[in-house]
């Protein structure tokens, strides 16, 4: 049993746009894992649907040789996150493991962080979420149901990271690469998404991050996102 790893993890993700088919299995998996509130036709029309990860479409060219690029967008857990300095109560901050944590019970709901996020990946609980009985039985006990008036966003499934870390600690070993997988990465049929520790150069995500095809979304804003998109095509 190797001794426990000393260097803290720095979680990151690589999404291979050449593999992504835009089938939105990740969107459904995220709903299943993180107790996202159900939207209704009315609340969706008012722009209040919750999708912590969404697939953006960028069309290039015109019919007949038109192409579309699918772009899964989720919280990029930026190292220089614009949403962190503006929160007046430290409800969102950057923890040692490189995650941009949203502390639900600390948030007072000024929503400044959502304005400042260039990726528009933050969602606000305008109402108390409600699930008609017996759908509440499906709620994941590892994840808190956010009350009304609180901001929420993708957490890289911090509950799965926490559970894996506790298991590794119990067996006093370090986390293996690929042992922790957020719900979206786990469910992606085309295996386009890879999650891992960027501090560990041997991990698959680090190798993909250094590959020639890797770029980062709106990197010029200086947010230093931690999701690497691998270019589509040759």
């Amino acid at each position: 049993m190797d001794q426990q790893d000393t260097k803290p993890h720095r979680w990151g993700m690589a999404i291979d746009l050449d593999r992504c088919t835009g089938c939105e299995a990740c969107v459904a998996a995220c709903h299943a894992e993180n107790n996202l509130p159900l939207s209704t036709p009315d609340s969706a029309a008012k722009g209040r649907a919750f999708h912590w990860i969404r697939i953006d479409r960028y069309y290039e060219g015109a019919f007949p040789d038109i192409k579309v690029k699918f772009m899964p967008v989720l919280c990029q857990q930026c190292d220089e996150a614009p949403c962190e300095p503006v929160c007046p109560v430290y409800a969102t901050y950057h923890n040692a493991e490189g995650l941009n944590v949203q502390v639900y019970n600390r948030c007072v709901g000024t929503r400044y962080c959502a304005n400042n996020c260039p990726y528009s990946v933050r969602f606000f609980n305008w109402f108390e979420p409600v699930w008609p009985e017996p759908l509440t039985l499906q709620l994941n006990p590892d994840v808190f149901v956010r009350p009304v008036g609180v901001m929420e966003k993708c957490t890289f499934c911090s509950q799965r990271i926490k559970r894996a870390e506790l298991e590794a600690k119990q067996e006093s070993r370090s986390l293996r690469d690929g042992e922790v997988q957020p719900a979206c990465v786990q469910s992606c049929p085309a295996e386009a998404m890879v999650f891992g520790d960027l501090n560990d150069p041997a991990s698959r995500v680090s190798r993909l991050a250094q590959s020639g095809r890797a770029t980062r979304f709106m990197e010029d804003l200086g947010t230093q996102p931690k999701v690497f998109y691998l270019k589509r095509g040759e």
Binding site: E84, P85, Y90, Y93, H94, N95, A96, V101
Partner: protein, 167 residues
Amino acid sequence: MLLTAEFLTADSTVQAVSALRAEGFSANDIELFSYRPLELPEGMLERRSHISLAAVLGALVSGTLTTAFIFFTQHNYPLVTGGMPLVSGWATGVVSFELIMAGAVAGVVLAFLREGRLLRRDGAPPPALKDDSAFLRIECPQESVPRVVRCFEVAGAQDIVEETETE
């Protein structure tokens, strides 16, 4: 001995004051009561005022307090901010500026209240003000009373009242 005289016009008051000053009475023995601020020629009744000093003092005090407060919270008040810096340069600047200004305002107001003796007023009760007249009061030893009375009459005082200080 306290002498109070009532004057109907601003000029007579000014004449009386200049006469008293000519007689060599010091400025802080003389006090003028009126419903409206009377403009006196320069140096006639100069009142040393420390309000601007108080303002600067207030600003300095609140400035040091704020920075001390910030360093105290930064270093030994163990705050849980998830490793985020508690304070950054610019933000401290803005917040300190505001609190310094608050300190200055506090300084000014406190100095005003103290100098105007608006909170605690000892000594003889002020004369009952009338709408359109001013009262001049002077505190002088017994022997110089006649000289003061003469100055008042020359300036045209209406009625002069003598009181003994009731300590």
